[in-house]
Amino acid sequence: MAAPAAPGNAGNGAAEEVERFDATSMRFNTAVIGRIRTGAAVISGSTAGILGLTGLYGFGFYFVASLLLSLLLFVKAKRNVAAHFSSPSAITTDGLFDGLSTYVLLWTFMYGMVHVY
């Protein structure tokens, strides 16, 4: 264990700094990301269905919407993802494929409502 750096020489203390994190907060953050992703999947799925996107355009729309959401999350995290998540890719990849099934359901539903019937 590295001793906390003396105030005079903070420079070399940073290298020995041990990474600490709170497991409860991290789980909470991941859960929040999952909820946001699902909510976004519901909205983007309905949008894609109403617009009548088909095939690859629809799947592409999901990933574009997710990317946009990731950007917004990045801004929300004050551009410091490492402060809230253990891996830097957490805000882009977490729950991406859980959201996809919800997206497909809403997409098909809205597409059916608007364009089939």
Partner: protein, 268 residues
């Protein structure tokens, strides 16, 4: 953009009486299952679970002591260490917390009541699904329900258009059963939104969550082994008091801030 779609007119009653009801039923089924599980759960908080939580939290405390003990004074650290690892003392209650014997875990396969619990859990998941599939098969088979907005290969026809013998029909027109499957996977996310994370609406998701928790120890793990490992770690932990020279360090900062920045630069 889209492959030239054959205009196929579907009866709007199919939408009102098949498409929408299936989604609503799937959604409500999850909510009902969640609340039933919650109701049953309140009875199941037993002595065993409480003991397991106690063990887990104690272990966590030992780990925290190991990680951050250097901020404690030597005496305080030694007292805490003794609390965990004291060897002598004769009777069990005076022994260190990590030295006390824990009961051996029962083999989950050998315990019939636990087996029944697992079986019941599985049944509560499988039976409603089977009932709903039967319901859909019985009432809503033999016609097209909707069209999925993405192309599917001909292989899917057999599975998704069962009961519709139209060889030229595009595979993306699907029957109500495939709409049911879409709903099964899709409502999972909606349940997360409505009931919160870790709800009991969907068993498979619950399992994943359990595995990811790690706070409550797995009941099949022999806690004696875990405690032994932690005890050895704690014994090996050398206490280095981080704040031993704190007064001097404080005075140093005071003198540094008192002198001008130029002299500080010279020092370095």
């Amino acid at each position: 953009m889209a492959p030239a779609a054959i205009p196929l007119l579907l009866d709007t009653s199919i939408r009102d009486w098949v498409l929408i009801p299936i989604v609503i039923v799937m959604f409500l089924l999850g909510i009902v299952r969640h609340h039933i599980t919650e109701l049953l759960k309140s009875d199941r908080i037993d002595d065993k679970a409480a003991k397991a939580a106690l063990d887990g939290q104690g272990l966590l405390r030992a780990r925290v002591l190991r990680a951050n003990g250097r901020f404690l004074s030597p005496l305080a650290f030694q007292m805490r260490k003794n609390f965990f690892t004291q060897a002598d003392g004769g009777d069990d209650s005076k022994k260190g917390w990590l030295m006390q014997e824990r009961p051996k875990p029962a083999n989950p396969m050998g315990d019939p009541s636990q087996m029944m619990g697992m079986l019941k859990n599985n049944m509560s998941f499988v039976i409603p699904q089977m009932l709903i599939m039967g319901w859909i098969n019985y009432f809503f088979s033999g016609f097209i329900a909707t069209r999925v907005p993405f192309p599917l290969t001909v292989r899917f026809k057999m599975m998704l258009q069962r009961g519709i013998e139209l060889p030229t029909l595009d595979a993306s027109w699907v029957s109500s059963l495939s709409w049911y499957f879409l709903a099964v996977f899709g409502v999972r996310g909606l349940h997360t939104l409505v009931l919160g994370e870790g709800n009991a609406a969907d068993q498979s998701m619950n399992m994943q969550q359990m595995a990811g928790m790690g706070m409550t120890p797995n009941p099949t793990v022999d806690m004696n082994q875990v405690f032994k490992a932690e005890r050895e770690n704690l014994d090996l932990c050398v206490h280095e008091y981080a704040l031993a020279n704190i007064e001097r360090a404080l005075l140093d900062t005071a003198s540094v801030s008192a002198t001008s920045t130029t002299s500080k630069l010279k020092q370095h």
